[in-house]
Subunit: 335 residues, 2 copies
C-alpha cells in the first residue's frame, strides 16, 4: 500500500474545453476513516462527460467541485480499513463519491459491494454501472421503443451508446449508430447496429440521417447535443421520443448560451416528446436492471468495450480524450 | 343571399410576416353542391396562428395552400342548399375546411352541426371549438397539471391561452399570464390568473418569470416560441412539462431556421419533458371535451372574449393583426 494519497484538485473553472492544467496533483497523508466510515484504495476510476458540468459555476443538477477540492468521480476500490460493520478489508466496492485520488474515505451510504463473479470488477463502472444503467433506463423508460422502431444513437460506441444500441436490438428495433470514426462504426456493426453515420465525414449530416432512417427516427438517444442533435431533429418520425441523456458536444460552452437552430417547429409537426434523463431518478430500480443486463451479458446479447488508461496521473488526460471523442468504448483509468 | 362568391386566394408565399397583398379577392358565381354535398353561406370565419404554416412551402403537419387556391380556414355558416340527408337548409354548421369566402361547398365529413343553445354560434370557433379544445387537451393531456403546480401560459389572453388559464385554475394550479399589454394582463387577472408578465415592457424577461414563478414553472403552455420560450426555459421546475402548442413568434421565419439559445441543458437538468401538441390527434374525444367546457361555462367557471372584425374583406387584415398580437381575445371575422 502507498504511504501517501495523491489527489487531483481543481485549480480553476475551465472556460471552454478544459486543459490538464485545470487540475493539480497534490500529495497528502493517507487519511484515517472516522466512525462508520472506511478507507478504500482506488483500483479503477471512471471519467464521464457529466464531469464537465461539475467544474462549471453554471447551475446543474448536482453540486459542483469548488476550486481546491478533489475532483469528483466514481470509482472501484478495495476496502483497506473499515469502521463499519457491513464492510471489511478486502471487499471490492463501488462509489459515486470516490474522486480522483489513491485513497477515499467513504461512508456506507452510496457505497456498494461489487460481486466479482458477475464480471471483471471494472465493469461496475461500465455496462454493470452508471453507463449501462443509463442506457437501460433512458432507452426503455424515456424512449419506450416498440419493435420495428428506428432508434438513432449519438456517441454510439461510447459507454452508454454501445449498451443502448444492443438493448434496442434486443427489443426488436432498427439501431442506427452515429459516431466519430469508421473504426467505431465498424465496431457498432459488430455489436448489431443496422446502419452507421460518421458525423465527422458526412458532407450533409441531415441528409445522412434521412438516408439511414428512411422512415424517420422514432427514438433518438442523444448523448451529444450539438450538430448531431440538429440533424436528427430534422428527421423525426411522428410521435418521436428524444432522450436528452448527455450534452458532450457542449463541453466547450458550459455556462454560456448554446446558440443554434431550435427545433420547436419540428417538435410540433412531429408531436415529438423531448425529455431530459438523469440516472439518479431511477435508484430504486438499479438492482433489477443490473441483474437484467448481467443476464443479457451472460447470454451473449450484450458485449462491451473499455478504453483503459494506466495510472492516476493519466486521469485528466483520459477525461480530455473523452471530451474530444478520442476514446473508444467506456473510458476508465486503472490506478 | 349574395349572387356572387367572393374568395380570398393566395397570391404568393410570403417571406417573413405576410402582407395583405399576399392574397387577392376574386369573385365567381355561387357554386352548386354535388351529390351528398351542401352549399353553406359563411357567417363567421376564424383566423388562427397555425395559418402562417399553411402559406409556406416548408414541411408542415397538413397540406398547405397553393398559389391561386382559396385560403384555408375554419368557419361557421348556414346551410343554403343540401344534397345530403343529414343536413337541411337553415342548419348552422361548423367546418375546418370553410376557407376565406362567402360560400363553401362542404361534404358531410368534417362538417358538424352547431347547437345554438350552447352559446352564440361563433363560440364554435372559440371556446367551444378548436381553441377551447386545444387548451383542454394540451393542458390536461400533455401538461398533466397537479394541484399547486405553477402553470405559465404565453399569449395568455389569446384564444387558447384564456381558456387554458381558466382550466389551470379549475385544476387548482397557480396560473401565470404572459401577454403583450397591461390591458390584456388586467383581463387575465379578471379571468383568475394569479400573476402576469408584460413581455413587451419587461426589462429582463427571464428575471420577470423567476419573480412571478418563485418555485419554477411546472407546466409551460407555450403558444409563441421565441424570446418568451427562452425566458421560461431558464425557469423550469424539476420534471416540468412544456407544451409546444403554437409558434406564432416564428411567423416571420417560416421555412428558415430559428436560430437562438437552445435549452438542452435546461431540459436535462430539470428532467423536463417538451412535447408537441396538435388538436387533430384528439378527435375521438372532442365531444366529451366540448360538453365539459360548456358545463364549466354554464357554471361561470369559463369566460371568454372575442375580437370580431366586420366583413369578409377584413379577413387578411384580421389575420395580420393576430400575427402582430394586436388582437384581444379570439380573433374572428363576421362575414
Amino acid at each position: 500500500m502507498r504511504n501517501a494519497n495523491r489527489q487531483w484538485v481543481l485549480e480553476r473553472f475551465p472556460e471552454g474545453i478544459p486543459a490538464e492544467t485545470d487540475w493539480r496533483l497534490v500529495e497528502s497523508p493517507v487519511p484515517e476513516p472516522g466512525d462508520r466510515e472506511m478507507l478504500v484504495q482506488s483500483l479503477y476510476l471512471s471519467v464521464d462527460p457529466y464531469m464537465r458540468g461539475r467544474i462549471s459555476p453554471a447551475k446543474n443538477y448536482a453540486k459542483g467541485v469548488d476550486i481546491g477540492e478533489v475532483m469528483t468521480g466514481s470509482g472501484v476500490g478495495e476496502v483497506v480499513r473499515s469502521n463499519h460493520p457491513d464492510f471489511e478489508p478486502g471487499d471490492i466496492v463501488e462509489s459515486f463519491q470516490f474522486g480522483w485520488q489513491d485513497f477515499a474515505i467513504l461512508p456506507a451510504e452510496g457505497t456498494r459491494k461489487v460481486d466479482p463473479s458477475l464480471g471483471p470488477i471494472h465493469s461496475a463502472l461500465s455496462y454493470l454501472g452508471m453507463p449501462g444503467l443509463s442506457a437501460y433506463f433512458a432507452l426503455l423508460d424515456i424512449g419506450q421503443p416498440k419493435p420495428g422502431d428506428t432508434v438513432a444513437i449519438s456517441a454510439a460506441s461510447g459507454a452508454v451508446g454501445q449498451i443502448a444500441g444492443q438493448i434496442a436490438k434486443i427489443k426488436g428495433c432498427r439501431a442506427v449508430a452515429i459516431a466519430s470514426s469508421d473504426e467505431k462504426l465498424a465496431w457498432c456493426r459488430e455489436l448489431g447496429y443496422d446502419a452507421g453515420i460518421n458525423y465527422k465525414t458526412a458532407p450533409d449530416l441531415t441528409a445522412s440521417v434521412a438516408e439511414a432512417c428512411p422512415n424517420g427516427v422514432d427514438v433518438f438517444f442523444d448523448n451529444t447535443a450539438g450538430p448531431i442533435h440538429d440533424a436528427v431533429m430534422q428527421n423525426l418520425a411522428l410521435k418521436a421520443r428524444v432522450i436528452v441523456c448527455g450534452t458532450v458536444a457542449l463541453a466547450d460552452k458550459f455556462g454560456q448560451p448554446d446558440i443554434g437552430p431550435r427545433s420547436l417547429r419540428q417538435i410540433l409537426v412531429a408531436r415529438a416528446r423531448v425529455e431530459g434523463f438523469l440516472i439518479f431518478d431511477f435508484q430504486d430500480r438499479y438492482e433489477a436492471a443490473r441483474e437484467q443486463i448481467a443476464a443479457w451479458h451472460a447470454e451473449g446479447k450484450i458485449r462491451h468495450r473499455e478504453d483503459i488508461a494506466e495510472g492516476l496521473e493519466q486521469t485528466p488526460a483520459a477525461f480530455l480524450k473523452l471530451l474530444r471523442s478520442e476514446n473508444f468504448g467506456k473510458q476508465l483509468v486503472k490506478v
